[in-house]
């Protein structure tokens, strides 16, 4: 009776999960029709949403497996881990918004519709007010005058040189000298208040949800959160979330009137560029591991399980790959891709698609150079596992090798895979900046932190110093990598049995 009931509940749970996934997928496929645009599905977009799809399934699976959900709860019990998870999810949301691409319809006739040339993402649309208006050249954060002097002719016909007003930033000010500070302060206050209201509303909704699930009254829940009496550190979560929301609201509100992080050489808003770079960083950090994972797991497990000549061959492959300096391998493959794109221009319609292929190629080649470490770790672990009694027993009972590997070995090495994946993420995001300097990173037209830092390097020689694009790219990259590092530490502490004594 109980078992049946549990089965029924279990089924209901998966039905719900698949319903949500199906709904999300349909939405992703039919939104162009709903909003009357032409959807553009770049390869990296599809892979990213495939990853999200897998992640949702993974989370749903974990919630029903007590032995997996306990260490995950352990991860989120840490205050640092919880707040870095909040910061990470901010980056992920921006990255996902930037991964839905479409084109507007310009003219619509019965027979043929023509689409606009520009490919936009949801992020572009929500920041439309910035990206549409660009200045002529550099301007400092919150500046209303340009960085470079220009020629003017005054009323008497005399030529003189002065700093021109910016086209976009501060154009609402009539008497800039008197109104400037007052305007910035009043706008900041307004932005901060908007942020506070949003975060209070959000917290209220969250507390309401928590009071429903934990069967407490609303006030009790609030009190318990403030005293940090819950199992998970919700107080820290809400504080971090509020800080993120208030900061965002302030920046977004002010960026309607000023360039909050200045503009770059061709007058593009640096705040916009930094936000656009998030997607590139996330793609390199996640898709690389997604691509290398099947190979690393399959080869590592096979080498450890079958031993003998299989092990020899696999070991030979990864020692060979390992002994080539990684950077040279990356360079060679990236050059090959460049030539391939040049020889087959018909395959790629737009510059964005070309850049997208290069981004994907970079992920693949970074994956090729980084899978060997995981492969070796897995091989060693499987060596140990295959001698254990339960696997010997399975073999004695005649269970096939394939079955043993998939249901006994792989689940027991997944913690290693998880740890390596999260530890690799931050390293890959950092590697992108180095590769951009060497000149083999993402396509120069792709907006990325590496490209921003690389071009900002030369701007430091100017006088006055153009520091803002370097600092903005650096601080966003730093925030993402730091959050990822702290979060992966928590994961390692929770999942790595070797680390349990060490703390």
């Amino acid at each position: 009776m109980m078992a049946e009931l549990r089965n029924a509940l279990q089924q209901l749970y998966w039905q719900k999960v698949f319903f949500v996934l199906g709904a999300l997928m349909t939405l992703y496929l039919i939104y162009p029709v709903l909003f009357n645009v032409q959807g553009v599905y770049l390869i990296t977009d599809i892979l990213i949403y495939f990853l999200v799809f897998c992640l949702i399934l993974f989370v749903a699976y974990i919630r029903k497996q007590p032995h997996l959900s306990v260490p995950w709860r352990q991860v989120f019990k840490g205050k640092i881990a919880m707040s870095s998870a909040v910061v990470l999810s901010f980056f992920i949301i921006v990255g996902l918004m930037d991964s839905i691409h479409f084109r507007y319809i310009e003219k619509s006739e019965a027979t043929n519709t023509s689409y606009s040339v520009d490919m936009l993402s949801v992020l572009d649309v929500s920041l439309r007010y910035i990206s549409s208006d660009s200045e002529k050249t550099y301007s400092a954060p919150f500046a209303i005058y340009s960085y470079a002097k220009e020629n003017f002719i005054n009323d008497e016909g005399v030529k003189y040189r002065a700093y021109p007003r910016l086209k976009f930033a501060g154009s609402h000010l009539k008497k800039p000298e008197q109104e400037y500070w007052q305007d910035i302060i009043s706008k900041s206050v307004k932005g901060l208040i908007i942020g506070l209201i949003i975060s209070v509303v959000f917290s209220a909704i969250f507390i309401f949800y928590l009071s429903r699930t934990s069967a407490r009254s609303y006030l009790d829940t609030l009190k318990n959160i403030l005293q940090d009496k819950f199992d998970l550190p919700w107080r820290v979560m809400l504080i971090t979330l509020s800080i993120v929301i208030v900061l965002c609201a302030w920046l977004f509100y002010l960026s309607h009137f000023y360039h909050v992080m200045g503009t770059d050489k061709v007058g593009q808003d640096v705040f916009y560029l930094t936000l656009k770079s998030i997607r590139t960083g996330l793609v390199i950090g996640t898709l690389t591991t997604l691509i290398m994972l099947p190979f690393a797991i399959a080869l590592g497990v096979m080498a450890g399980y079958f031993k003998g000549w299989v092990d020899d061959v696999i070991q030979y492959i990864y020692t060979t790959l390992n002994s080539i300096p990684g950077i040279l391998l990356i360079v060679a493959v990236m050059l090959a891709i460049d030539v391939y794109i040049e020889n087959h221009p018909a395959l790629f319609e737009t510059a964005i698609e070309r850049a997208d292929i290069k981004l994907l190629a970079l992920c693949v080649v970074l994956g090729i150079t980084s899978w060997t470490g995981l492969c070796r770790l897995l091989r060693g672990e499987v060596f140990k596992l295959r001698e254990l009694e339960y696997i010997q027993a399975a073999r004695a009972l005649g269970v096939s090798n394939f079955k043993i590997i998939t249901s006994h070995i792989i689940p027991n090495v997944m913690h290693i895979v998880l740890i390596v994946v999260v530890l690799d993420f931050s390293g890959l995001v950092l590697a992108e900046a180095v590769l951009a300097y060497i000149g083999v990173g993402v396509d120069p037209s792709t907006i990325s932190w590496g490209n921003m830092i690389n071009s900002a390097r030369l701007e430091l020689a100017r006088d006055p110093v153009v520091w803002w694009s370097l600092i903005s790219a650096f601080s966003f990259m730093f925030a993402l990598v730091l959050a990822a590092n702290l979060f992966s530490d928590a994961i390692r502490d929770a999942f790595d049995p070797r680390q349990q004594g060490v703390k």
């Binding site: 060679a332 050059l335 090959a336 650096f474 730091l482």
Partner: protein
């Protein structure tokens, strides 16, 4: 020992052949020998004879991997791959596309690379290990906590940022040392200080934290408890007991890196204008000089394999329980 080493050297041969095959395949996937000739002769006024002449002079006029016109074993040996690889195995790197002898260039540029890499390696190890020991000495206190936080923060900063910030602060604002450049001999010191310091600082976060976990794994062992029970001071325990026993994992990471010091650092050398092997490689990549790239890849793999063998040998010195067979 001797048998072990000779077996490892025999193992190295198929790996090096594999490395060579891979570099060849990757390079000629991109550029045919005709393209190479065209690029090096300049884009204009090139006749097919000119290309053929260039190819014959440099030995690129044969098939890549398999020569159908020849007999028996010559089908394999009379090819670009065979001719170019066999010389590599004898460490005869041939000439670069601009006519200079690669072996001579490498032996000349090696010293600049070493002048940068050896101080970074030695001083770096010293700094990282002492910082880690300091954290372990103050374990479970605020010193340890904030030390680890510092490590994580430093790990999260890109190497490029360290270089840019260091060059800007010390070279441009404080005007203490030149930003970049190099002079051979003793005056190299003033050019090397900045890159060495930046190199060490850039690696501090991850290395110190890694050494710290190694030491912490040792510190809960029985022999440490015994040593403390004997009444030895905590410093004595750390430096003469824990450090000695932690040498194996430390060696695994360190000894592999020693031969690769010859290769220099791509990033630092090209940033600071040190004329070492790293910047040599980058220049070769940028000018698409395949002969140099191939030589450097080969050298890199040889040194890597030497590093692996050295690691195994060094185990026997540190840990008498380990025997090579």
């Amino acid at each position: 020992m001797f048998a072990y080493i000779s077996r490892r050297i025999l193992y190295a041969i198929p790996i090096l052949i594999g490395v060579n095959l891979l570099t060849f395949a990757l390079y000629f996937l991109v550029n045919s020998p005709d393209d190479m000739a065209r690029m090096h002769l300049g884009a204009k006024y090139i006749t097919q004879e000119g290309i053929d002449k260039w190819k014959t002079e440099r030995g690129y006029d044969k098939p890549l991997f398999y020569n159908e016109t020849e007999q028996s074993y010559k089908k394999l040996s009379n090819t670009i791959f065979y001719n170019k690889s066999v010389k590599l195995f004898l460490f005869d790197f041939g000439n670069a596309d601009n006519g200079r002898n690669i072996g001579f260039d490498i032996s000349e540029r090696m010293w600049a690379s070493l002048a940068y890499a050896i101080p970074v390696f030695l001083v770096g190890m010293l700094v990282y290990i002492s910082f880690a020991l300091l954290l372990v000495f103050f374990r479970a206190t605020y010193v340890d906590l904030w030390g680890v936080v510092l490590c994580v923060v430093m790990m999260s900063i890109s190497a490029i940022i360290y270089i840019i910030a260091g060059q800007y602060l010390i070279g441009k604002i404080l005007l203490l040392v030149p930003i970049s450049g190099y002079e051979p001999g003793f005056s190299a010191v003033k050019f090397l200080i900045l890159p060495v310091v930046i190199g060490i600082v850039a690696g501090l976060g991850s290395s110190a934290r890694w050494y710290r976990t190694i030491f912490l794994e040792e510190i809960n062992r029985d022999y440490v408890r015994t040593a403390r029970a004997k009444g030895l001071s905590e410093l004595r325990v750390l430096f003469s007991h824990v450090l000695k026993n932690a040498m194996i994992p430390i060696l695994t990471g360190a000894v592999v890196a020693i031969p690769l010091l010859f290769m220099g650092s791509l990033l630092m050398e090209s940033f600071f204008g040190i004329p070492g092997l790293g910047s040599y490689t980058i220049d070769a990549i940028r000018s698409q000089d395949f002969a140099i790239v191939r030589a450097m890849v080969f050298l890199g793999s040889v040194l890597y394999i030497v590093g692996l063998v050295l690691t195994d040998i060094s185990y026997t010195f540190v840990d008498p329980r380990v025997r090579l067979n």
